[in-house]
Subunit: 426 residues, 2 copies
């Protein structure tokens, strides 16, 4: 049986980097435990955090069995659990002085789904006949692999390559090329601007100045600025530099419980204008009736008390900061000075973004070689999408690897040593 | 800020029956507890079943904290948890002799999402230029309200009105009009045939003969037959007539944990050809990375042991059968013989499908009047979609209500009495 698919089916069921990554990740987690898992964005096992979720569950069972019953038995409204929406609005208002009510918050089945909804309600063929197709502008690629295949329309993304600042022998940082961004805004019908901050895959954190300039450009063009804050403040706050979180009525901020150690609950949070929130709730109703409510219920008291902020700042952030520092040092030991290599400055998130200038094979091929040696990484190619055809031959896009450092130190050490070894064999 | 949406946004964020229903339901459950909830498909609180889920959670916390940790901390593969997929395949193979492996099973974030995926990967604009748009054929409407707005393309559905068999003074049953179905297959490019069985909203169960004929028609046209089995066998088995479950490689069977009392976990299950399963896994990766895994983990041992079948047959089915019988009797008491009324024969699911021949207002207006008196039902109009324009004036489509009987007896009694009272005031 070989059935023809619709255009939607052909587009969204095609081979995608994110499918490969999630298959690799899930299989490593469930059926190939010997794999050194430095691919996906799975959070680390932090004993203190895991104990917190277990004790919260136990507390509900012991002291509030009715809450457990309601949690499992009832459909929430499509926008999310009203108590949780209220708590998030209040928590963020207190932390940052933003003027938010529960009507500015919606839940989705993970942050990935929030972006799928947002890209497609904003970008793609226009509702009005005669208008041109709206694009999602990515001001700086490499950008998150999970966006690449989310457009229902073809060529949903327009992306700008960065300015690369090289720092010493082994470090570099990407900056937004605002000339390229302004040119893209002129050349295309742009429906929204989107950035992840901290950036997945690079660990870059756009500066307050960059965000402010993007925000002004978005407002000037009457389009929203989407900031994917999956790793950002105030929770999980996996940030190693000082930054100011940004939100206004023209900003759509997406957050998640995943990097708090709860990806299994699939809980995304969107903070946006009331109009956008209503649209997302409609979409949830139509595509899935309601969200699962277990993550919201587990985390609710911590959001209400504000404890989620101290957990993020005192436990989660230092944990990953130390992991990041250790990983950087292990990388230095594994690659030495006989191979040319550079790593993006580590400003947040769970990754080393490794650049091998002059890499003798594609990063895709390197990924395959490493996988055979039980080391999973993500080839950099997948993060460079939406670029002009003129950039097809840009060597940089084939010379990078995303390496997750959230696993235990011995796994990261072995993995990096094997990477060094493979690079020397090329 | 009044932004223009894409065509996708305009279509899927429009007012929809399912949004209204889910908003009503969620608000009744969370902020308006005085409402008599006879609208949505929320399952009943069955103490024995609720105790089962609580004790399963407690058992995991006491005896397998590592399992709890992994459940919360890890992303599953996009297709679903490998252990759960294996268990479902094995359970269904044993029960019905179907030749299934884990490669024939995929998880989605609830059954609603499975249908959203399936309708749109099969129906809508063709991938190949020059081919006409594929339709989803509903052989018998009224059909599930939740499908109505799921087409990304306009006019996704082609539907056939039923043959109505009147039985005595107060009962009736819908049958598939196969002449209409064959005419629709000739007149349109049909991409798939879809039925819910038991049917939501009517409680009708298509006969084995009807299913077998639809299956042959689907195979003859080289298109799949989708059977939405959310209320069906072997779990939750809310069936009050003898039927034979149907699956073959050309059938896509969707199931759910919701009606087992776990809608809060959003767990849909699809049983289909390996090719279709791979497509659904791709779509899950792109749109949401992975599924939440809590429902799968809670239910896993019951699926492995087969206990889920006896739970369904010995606890869940008799519970709803009694509810259905009681509701029918309470309806008789509330409406008496001074109003003309008929109810669809009760063969499965949670609903009375009430038909008031000659109703003096639209069922939509009746819904509004009842809501003001704290009785929530669903107006019948929403379940009649995809019909020819010639059917716009068909009175029957404005004369029906879906009434959920899963709530406690006093709620159902009061609700039905208020319905009788409003009907007499018209």
């Amino acid at each position: 049986m070989d059935r023809s698919l619709s255009a939607f089916g052909e587009k969204l069921c095609a081979h995608s980097g994110i499918l490969e990554l999630m298959d690799d990740l899930g299989n490593a987690m469930t059926t190939h435990p010997q794999m050194r898992m430095m691919g996906g964005g799975n959070p680390a096992a932090i004993p203190e955090v895991q104990e917190l979720w277990r004790s919260r569950l136990r507390d509900l069972l012991d002291n509030a069995p009715d809450t457990i019953d309601r949690m499992l038995l009832n459909y929430d409204p499509p926008q999310g659990n009203p108590e949780f929406l209220e708590a998030v609005a209040s928590c963020l208002s207190k932390a940052y002085g933003w003027k938010l009510s529960a009507r500015n918050v919606a839940i989705t089945s993970g942050g990935q789904t929030a972006l799928f909804f947002l890209f497609n309600i904003l970008g793609g063929p226009a509702a009005q006949a005669g208008q041109s197709q709206g694009k999602i502008l990515l001001p700086l690629v490499p950008e998150y692999i999970g966006y690449a295949n989310q457009g229902i329309a073809h060529e949903m993304f327009v992306a700008c390559p960065p300015v690369i600042e090289e720092i010493g022998d082994h470090d570099f940082k990407y900056h937004v090329d605002f000339d390229a961004v302004e040119a893209a805004l002129k050349a295309h019908t742009v429906a929204a601007i989107c950035v992840s901050r901290p950036t997945n895959p690079t660990g870059n954190v756009l500066t307050d100045g960059e965000i402010s300039r993007l925000s002004v450009l978005a407002a000037d063009h009457g389009i929203p600025l989407i900031i994917d804050n999956a790793y950002g403040a105030p929770f999980p706050n996996v940030l190693f530099v000082e930054t100011t979180p940004h939100w206004d009525d023209n900003t759509i901020l997406t957050m998640s419980l995943s990097k708090l150690g709860l990806p299994g609950t699939r809980t995304g949070i969107v903070v946006a204008s009331e109009q956008t929130i209503r649209q997302l709730a409609s979409l949830t109703a139509v595509t899935g009736l309601a969200n699962n409510n277990i993550g919201q219920r587990l985390v609710l008291p911590l959001v209400r008390s504000g404890e989620i902020l101290s957990l993020s700042t005192s436990v989660i952030q230092p944990f990953y900061r130390e992991k990041s520092d250790t990983a950087r040092q292990l990388l230095e030991e594994a690659l030495g000075n006989d191979i040319p290599w550079k790593v993006h400055v580590r400003e947040g998130a769970f990754f080393l973004w490794l650049w091998i200038p002059g890499l003798k094979c594609s990063s895709r091929e390197l990924y395959e070689r490493l996988k055979k040696r039980d080391v999973l990484v993500v080839p950099g190619e997948y993060f460079f999408f939406g670029l002009d055809k003129g950039r097809d031959t840009w060597p940089h896009r084939h010379e990078c690897l995303r390496i997750t450092f959230s696993q235990p130190e011995n796994v990261v050490r072995e993995g990096l040593q094997i990477i060094g070894d493979e690079l020397r064999r090329l």
